[in-house]
Amino acid sequence: MTQKTEGGDVRLAGISKTYGSFTAVHPLDLTVPQGSFFALLGASGCGKTTTLRMIAGLEDPSTGTVSLGDTDVTHLPPYKRPVNTVFQSYALFPHLDISENVAFGLRRRGIKSVKKQVDDMLDLVQLGQFAKRKPHQLSGGQQQRVAVARALINHPQVLLLDEPLGALDLKLRRQMQLELKRIQTEVGITFVHVTHDQEEAMTMADQVAVMNGGRVEQLGAPADLYENPKTTFVANFLGTSNLIEAEVASTTSDVVTVTCGGAKLKLPNARCQAQTATGDKLLVGVRPEKVSIAHADDADSIPDGRNRITGRITASSFIGVSTQFIVDSPACADFDVYVQNIERDSRLAPGAEVVLHWNPEHTFGLDADQAIDAGVQSVEDAS
């Protein structure tokens, strides 16, 4: 594709959506930089799809404005916006063949010779030989690519993707994630991607906005969100976090020392998201893969200066590349630890007394006024 789209950032200023007394989206400011792959991540009902639909013009915001570059498009109907959507269930036109589905947008704008563009676009999504088929004759993955082609052919300023991979099985989904990322890099169009799959958001997006209860909890690059969650929701929703309720013992400008269950833990003051006066409550967190596990007999060999917690293994599961341990400690009842399977210690079995230790730099602190289990995905959510 040689054609570059003009335009600019997508800017949402104070947009909100209420249905009667229910607020789907609280007033929200968000800027999606031009050419970026932006993900709106959250559990179902968090307002991410409503936000997307307001950008598309399929939903009128209750307050606020939507701008594309310098143009305010808040009151433009969808068919006048330079924005296209890949719908969750694809919404392909069942009475039209694949090439007519793809040509739909071009024809509506009065473009007569669409053949070349349609062929090129079908080649981009590797569906050239299916041009004359009807949508129902294609598999889910193929339909999904038709939906992408049908939207992309219009060179929109922004491509909106509403859970585009939700209906695909895991393997195909992984494949399509790479495919979409490749297409985005190739065409350079701004993608706004709505998903409930945190792994999908992290692998594809440059920027992720984590939404919860109609609000953006945190916005940032995937690695930044993962390493420095600002709320318990983000800490739990993106990957897994071990959160420990602790009390601040002392504070310097660099280091905060906390106590919990008899253990003394240190963390960098810079990674603390809350007030840290002595005696304050604080939630201390660490990611499971940052933690090392040693048998209690080897406790002396642990270098000084590391955070330590003692406990007993309650469960372990072998996952191939790693082993996952669940450790019961006075500080935290279900402490997750992932250990790479390099040299396996046969003593580390359920019932064994262990010492968990990690670099204090890898510890983060969160405000204790929030629910400690916010964003923990229940079994049925984790699809």
């Binding site: 598309a56 013009g57 006048k80 924005v83 919404a91 009475h95 739909f104 947008g105 509506r108 704008r109």
Partner: protein, 306 residues
């Protein structure tokens, strides 16, 4: 099934037995319907076919003489009634489509929680008999009645008289009255299939069309209407076919000048007692409708729709 087999041989045969039984199930399920159609459709059809090529009189009895001349005579004498039947039925079908489509669209997409109520209202006329409804129209359209009064005052009747649809300041006993009656009586047969096919359309297709730069009007032209074609086809068939053979509306709301072929068949059978002519007329009507429907279905290309 008899249990005569030796126990060791029960490995394979029982499987076959079950499948043989299963194979017969569809035929057993078909049987009542087939019997019904045989007795009440196929046999009468054959009987009528034979009647149409008989000659004779009621006193002397009728005999099969393969007298096909009856067909030509019937057609030569009653062609105006045939033309009129097709014209009235066609007009009524188009009126039904024009009235029914917006209503079906409204019920399918805009009625919200009133949907079921409106559907019941569409079907409500069926709670009274066809005959009584048509008789009611006789009262509604009666000379000096309110409808005639209003239309006369608005000079609508002058226009329709000039077009030849009505006569003077009368509505009853005019072509317009017959077409109105047909339209009214067959309207639900149009609305229900239209509603069914419109209701099946995924609302997201409308959003997708809007998202792809189609104005609401274009969305209707390019997405909604093509997808509702199965409903349009079955609705027009369910309206046109019975309307073409109808005689109640022509009898009750029309005059001798608005006789449709249904009335002719009825009077040939029950008053003139010329059974061969009546049977021949029935067959000609059936053939015409069959040909028209076949051509129409080919043209509308509904087999291509999902």
């Amino acid at each position: 099934m008899t249990v005569t087999e030796a126990p060791p041989a029960t490995e394979e045969p029982p499987v076959h037995k079950v499948s043989a039984r299963k194979r017969l199930v569809p035929y057993w399920l078909l049987l009542p319907g087939i019997l019904w159609l045989l007795v009440f459709f196929a046999l009468p059809l054959i009987y009528q076919g034979s009647t149409s090529v008989q000659e004779g009189s009621l006193e002397a009895g009728f005999k099969v003489t393969w007298h096909f001349q009856t067909y030509w005579d019937a057609l030569a004498e009653y062609w105006p009634q045939f033309i009129r039947s097709l014209l009235y039925a066609g007009t009524a079908t188009i009126l039904c489509l024009l009235l029914g489509y917006p209503l079906a669209y409204l019920i399918a997409f805009k009625a919200g929680r009133w949907r079921n109520l409106v559907l019941v209202l569409v079907i409500a006329p069926f709670f009274t008999s066809f005959l009584i409804r048509t008789l009611a129209w006789k009262t509604i359209l009666a000379d000096g009645g309110p409808v005639v009064g209003v239309l006369d005052a608005l000079h609508v009747l002058d226009v329709t008289s000039w077009l030849g649809w009505t006569e003077g300041s009368r509505l009853l006993a005019t072509p317009l009255a017959v077409v109105c009656g047909l339209t009214y009586n067959f309207l639900p047969f149009m609305i229900l299939p239209l509603y069914t096919s419109l209701e099946r359309i995924d609302g997201r297709l409308h959003e997708a069309a809007g998202d792809l730069y189609a104005t609401p009007a274009t969305t209707f032209r390019k997405v909604t209407f093509p997808l509702s074609m199965p409903g349009v086809v079955s609705g027009t068939l369910l309206t046109f076919i019975p309307a073409a053979g109808d005689y109640v509306n022509a009898e009750l709301l029309g005059s001798t000048d608005t006789k449709m072929v249904g009335s002719v068949i009825q009077s040939q059978f029950l008053r003139v007692l010329d059974y061969p002519t009546a049977a021949a007329l029935s067959f000609i009507l059936m053939a015409i409708v069959l040909i028209m429907v076949t051509v129409y279905m080919r043209k509308s290309g509904t087999e291509d729709l999902v």
